[in-house]
């Protein structure tokens, strides 16, 4: 529940060993590299022409790989399933194997090969589309037994192929008879809504003919100027389309032969990205004419071996390890007990805490799990989730983040089991149908003790928020702002804890009720008088105090009511489960065997759906309570996360140096 101290490391080396230094830091993966402050003696390191060229080379290789992967994915016959899109394949391999990733694929050869495939596919697609359009057109003119090159006419008569809507045909012929009498219309075919016809006319009347056709919105068709008749040409086109299809299939087969390279390409891409990072990281360094200076941060436990390994890089290297100075802004490394560490993921989702701030991970680990448990709130669902999450975590190739996330949900599932037992919720079975001993455990039945469960949620909310307020109080006290600690937070404790305890004592008759009323009034008056102390004038202090008191009291109460959502979401899970059971019960009796099968299907699908839909709410709403209601009381983010420079990859999992790679070559 703390922020781990970090140690500053400064390395100055001759620039000839810069690459070795970077490689050593990359392999160690323990140094958070910071940007060196430039002064009169030290310039910011700039990339040389060769480094820029090398970085551009890696960028180009990444683009090539993306292109190849995109091409292969488009042509993959097996599309990735839902789970595959959520969880990417992981490749465990040693650092040495990863360093040799370039040997996995001959990238240039593959890129040119795939580019050629792509070009051929594009050409075939374009050619086929053109041929199909021509074939479709020729189908209208199949009955025209004239070579197509002769469809222009001679000097005494001209020919035009025209397509007219069936409904407009009579109007066109009538208008042609009146406007272009020296013309004749021969119907070639009638297909769907269209009449395809050949118009024979006297050439000097072309202008009048075109005017009629334009008015009637007739479509003038042009066929290829070749000696084939339309039907002959159509058959030829069909043969060519079939030939393209065959060639395309052959090409597809060749592409399928490259599919095994996908995993190698994914590894290679990650390798290229990491190689580029090795160049880019040097822009954080300082430089003189012949030296480079590196500043960074180390976790305390990694100082000895990191210093030893870096010192061994070269003789021309000076290394200093020191405590952070006052003006330094070290990165934040969270330090929590192993069981709470997965919840650091959720804290970082909001933002890494400021260096002087508390690390709320441990409190969040407990409260988030409890809230998640409330939202699921069913013994059976909790148990199923726990088992399912354990199996997924155990057998799926997950990264550290996904494993941490599942661990968080597993803790929540344990709470769901406990709360399910307390609320008497077992797969949504109605309470009065449960065995008697289970009914007795269920002391928080949400349907019969609605207000009690709501009250419990509000109570949990107050405790949760007061922990946050306590953290802020301690923070103020520690930083010397004791008046803020005593007034801003102390009065809140007096109001909600002091008066609360007084109310309980009055309720059991140990003190008179009037004492509690006077206590309440005293705290409220103190708040009005003191919370507005930042204003300069006395009326200003009073008005501001009144405003702040109102805001504080109403804010806390409304925030506490917000926790009632836990009850509502838990009840939602229970009610939907109950409805599924009722539906299953209804179908059970419709037929001897089918009824039971249907019932089982409804139960299985229904309860799975119920868990899935409520899992979403059970994650989002507790997180909201943490981020808005709890963090809002004390938490300042803005710290830079401690991120050691090393291998960064979404698909490659670096194993210990000894081991084998699972990546196919």
């Amino acid at each position: 529940m703390a922020i781990e101290p970090v140690t500053k490391i400064t390395v100055i080396a001759h620039n000839t060993v810069e690459d070795d230094l970077v490689e050593a830091m990359y392999r160690l993966g323990t140094v958070h590299v910071d940007i060196v402050e430039v002064d009169d003696l030290l310039d910011a390191k700039k990339l040389s022409e060769s480094e820029n060229h090398e970085a551009r080379g890696y960028s180009f290789a990444i683009v090539q790989i993306e292109f190849i992967l995109g091409f292969l994915r488009r042509h993959a016959t097996e599309k990735p399933g839902f789970l595959k899109t959520m969880i990417r394949d992981k490749y465990p391999m040693t650092l040495d194997d990863f360093a040799n990733a370039e040997q996995l694929v001959d990238l240039d050869r593959l890129y040119h090969e795939v580019s050629d495939y792509e070009r051929r596919f594009v050409n075939m697609k374009a050619r086929k589309a053109k041929l199909e359009a021509e074939r479709d057109e020729l189908q209208y003119w199949a009955d025209l037994v004239i070579p197509m090159e002769e469809l222009h006419g001679e000097h005494l008569f001209a020919l035009k192929l025209v397509r007219i809507l069936e409904t407009d045909f009579d109007a066109v012929t009538a208008e042609l008879e009146s406007e272009v009498p020296e013309s004749s219309v021969e119907v070639v075919s009638r297909r769907t809504l269209w009449v395809s016809c050949l118009i024979i006319y006297y050439p000097p009347l072309e202008e009048e003919l075109m005017a009629v056709l334009a008015r009637q919105k007739a479509e003038i068709v042009t066929l290829p100027d070749i000696e084939d008749e339309p039907e002959e040409r159509r058959e030829h086109v069909e043969r060519e389309i079939a030939s393209i299809d065959r060639r395309r299939e052959d090409l597809e087969e060749k592409v399928q032969g490259q599919m095994h390279l996908v995993s190698s390409l994914e590894v290679l891409r990650e390798y290229m990205v990491n190689e580029r990072r090795k160049i880019e990281i040097t822009t954080s360094f300082g430089a003189t004419q012949s030296t480079v200076a590196v500043e960074g941060w180390l976790a305390e436990d990694s100082v000895p071996f990191t210093a030893d390994r870096l010192s061994a890089v070269a003789e021309e290297l000076a290394l200093e390890v020191s405590e952070p100075a006052d003006e330094d802004k070290p990165p934040v490394k969270l330090k929590n007990p192993g069981w709470a560490r997965p919840f650091e993921l959720l804290v970082k989702m909001y933002g890494t805490p400021n260096r002087s701030e508390y690390d709320p991970t441990v409190v969040m680990a407990v409260s988030f799990s409890l809230f998640f448990g409330f939202c699921i709130g069913d013994f059976g669902y909790g148990l199923c989730l726990l088992v399912a999450l354990y199996l997924l975590r155990r057998f799926l190739p997950l990264g550290d983040g996904a494993k941490d996330f599942m661990t968080c949900l597993m803790y929540g599932s344990v709470f769901a089991i406990v709360i399910g037992a307390l609320t008497g919720s077992y797969f949504g079975i109605e309470t009065d149908k449960l065995p008697l001993f289970l009914q007795k455990i269920g002391v928080l039945d949400p349907l019969n003790r609605t207000l009690l469960v709501m009250g419990v949620c509000i109570g949990i909310g107050f405790v949760h928020m007061l922990i946050g307020t306590g953290a802020e109080m301690h923070d103020n006290w520690k930083t010397g702002d004791k008046s803020a600690a005593l007034i801003d937070q102390g009065l809140i404790f007096l109001l909600f804890v002091g008066v609360g305890i007084g109310a309980v004592l009055a309720f059991v008759g140990l003190i008179p009720g009037t004492v509690v009323v006077w206590m309440l009034l005293a705290v409220i008056i103190a708040m009005i008088l003191l919370l507005g102390r930042s204003s300069k004038s006395i009326p200003g202090k009073l008005v501001n105090g009144l405003y702040e008191t109102y805001g504080t009291v109403v804010g806390y109460i409304s925030d506490a009511i917000s926790y009632v959502r836990l009850f509502a979401l838990g009840l939602a899970t229970f009610i939907i489960g109950m409805v599924i059971n009722i539906m299953a019960g209804l179908v059970q009796g419709i037929a001897p065997v089918i009824g039971i099968v249907l019932m089982l299907v409804i139960l299985l699908v229904g309860h799975t759906f119920n868990v899935a839909i409520n899992l979403l709410g059970a994650f989002v709403h507790p997180l909201r309570l943490e981020f808005v209601e709890f963090f809002g009381k004390f938490y300042d983010d803005g710290g830079a996360e401690f991120k050691p420079f090393g291998v960064e990859s979404k698909v490659v999992m670096i194993k210990e140096p000894e081991g084998t790679t699972d990546v196919p070559s």
Partner: protein
């Protein structure tokens, strides 16, 4: 004074109110709660779907991170369903007096209206958050929190409705 008391007694004894029995008023409320929540959810999910479909055309791998955003406006429909189901669970409908049925009807209104509007606006928020996921998939967690804030009021509406049920039941 006596007249007002007599009026209250008459209301309590009345078999129908506005031409509907207590049973009918309660069922009307239950149905309205689901109509509001369900319609809102359908509209809200459609808004996100429009944006999500566009993203998925470009990058089908984003289906996983986008799915929670698409599903999140669906919760209001569930709240409507819960309200609808709680009505017959909390009350003995065939014996429900007209005035109590009317109260149940009014108690269902927060869910009917608030869930409808919050689902629609949550759909719009989720659609914006989908853009965030499209650009930075690693921020999918944060993107999920923003539309969840809109749902607060749907949850409050459900809580109020359930609380009112407990009060009407007595």
């Amino acid at each position: 004074m006596f007249g007002a008391l007599q009026g209250a007694v008459n209301v309590a004894k009345a078999v129908t109110w506005g031409g509907l029995t207590g049973y009918q008023w309660a069922i009307l409320g239950a149905a309205l709660a689901f109509i509001g929540g369900g319609m809102g959810s359908a509209v809200g999910i459609t808004y996100v779907n429009h944006v999500a479909s566009g993203i998925l055309v470009e990058d089908p791998d984003k289906f996983g991170p986008l799915l929670p955003l698409i599903a999140i406006p669906g919760t209001q429909g569930v709240y409507g369903l819960i309200t609808g189901i709680l009505v017959p669970i909390f009350f003995d409908l065939p014996k429900l007096p007209a005035y109590q049925g009317l109260l149940v009807f009014f108690a269902c209104l927060p869910v009917a209206f608030v869930c409808f509007l919050s689902a629609v606006y949550q759909g719009l928020s989720s659609a914006s958050a989908s853009g965030m996921v499209a650009r930075r998939t690693e921020e999918a967690g944060k993107a999920l929190i923003l539309p969840a804030l809109v749902e607060t009021y749907a949850v409050f509406a459900l809580i109020l409705t359930i609380y009112l049920f407990t009060q009407i039941k007595g």
